[in-house]
Amino acid sequence: MDKNHFLQSFAEQFDDTDPSTITLETHFKEMEEWSSMVALMIIAMVDEQYSKKITGADLREANTIEQLFERVSSK
């Protein structure tokens, strides 16, 4: 799994946020555009692109995008 590819895919799920402002260190749940809908899109994106299942608990446990990447990588 490539970290930057994950970051790019993550950023693509947002419609109103400038992708250049989203980094691996971003605390994603503190983003203005973060919502339950975006959470569902992240879960679907991980399933589609990496064939891995993550849950609401994974999103809850991770604070930064990098931490989420590590959780996905370890599955």
């Binding site: 339950s36 569902l40 879960i43 679907a44 994106m45 399933d47 609401g56 809850r60």
Partner: protein, 254 residues
């Protein structure tokens, strides 16, 4: 001698498709409790054996079959004796935002939630396995989801909408044989399917949703008891209709 009750299922044999689901299993138990006999259909033989033991021999029979396949449907229709009713409780749910939907996931949900329901009824009717002119009743477990528009529930909502719409046409076709067809449209019921959704969303979001239900989330028994009413002669003037069970969620607004 006990007095006749129109709410009793005494003397009635009911087929339950999707017997191992939370709601399907509760319906099997309620049918037997109401004096009827039940044949449940599910995929897992070990579960079926356990279920037959719990409900008692002579009251409950089970057929191991995969209703997602034509072979499974043909097997059920071939093995069943004539019945007084049928409940379709087989179904799956999947939350997926619109932009991630592909033909494969769409077909997966439509197949078990809608196609198999129509195909099972078609085979049962073709083989004259549902007793005619005998107050027979078909009950389809749909969902309140098909009345509203929950985000990411397009796959499920569409399949249940198809079921609810088609039920009216099926009811019309079968009315000449006095076979009734009604749907139950439940809101959130505490089942394994609901727990899976809780896992996907979050426990907090589920708690927030639960608080919007004036009577709280439903239990499988709540749906099962309504199914017994629709299967019984107590509802013999009702067909082509739907009963919404949602603890007041979508009608009692603040």
């Amino acid at each position: 001698m006990t007095e006749y009750s129109p709410f009793s299922l005494h003397g009635k044999h009911i087929l339950v498709a999707g017997a191992s689901s939370g709601i399907g299993w509760a319906i099997c138990k309620s049918i037997v409790a109401a004096g009827g006999k039940v044949t449940g259909v599910a995929r897992r033989a070990d579960l079926l054996q356990k279920m037959a033991q719990e409900l008692g021999e002579g009251n409950a029979f089970f057929i191991e079959a995969d209703l997602a396949t034509d072979n499974g449907i043909e097997k059920v229709a071939a093995m069943m004796p004539d019945v007084n009713g049928l409940v379709y409780a087989a179904g799956v749910s999947k939350m997926l935002p619109l932009k991630f939907i592909k033909r494969e996931s769409l077909e997966e949900l439509m197949n078990i939630n809608y196609f198999s329901m129509v195909l099972l009824l078609a085979q049962m009717v073709r083989q004259k396995k549902i007793k005619r002119n005998a107050h027979s009743s078909i009950v389809l477990i749909s969902s309140v989801a098909q009345q509203i528009g929950t985000k990411s529930s397009i796959l499920y909502t569409g399949s249940k909408g198809a079921m609810s719409s088609a039920s009216k046409a099926i009811a019309n076709e079968l009315s000449s044989q006095k076979i009734r067809v009604n749907t139950i449209e439940p809101g959130m019921v505490q089942t394994a399917m609901a727990s899976e959704m809780e896992d996907v969303i979050s426990a907090e979001a589920v708690e927030k949703d639960k608080a919007k239900y004036p009577l709280g989330y439903g239990m499988p028994d709540d749906v099962a008891n309504t199914a017994v009413f629709l299967l019984s002669d107590a509802s013999k003037w009702m067909t082509g209709r739907s009963l919404t069970l949602d603890g007041g969620r979508y009608v009692l607004l603040d």
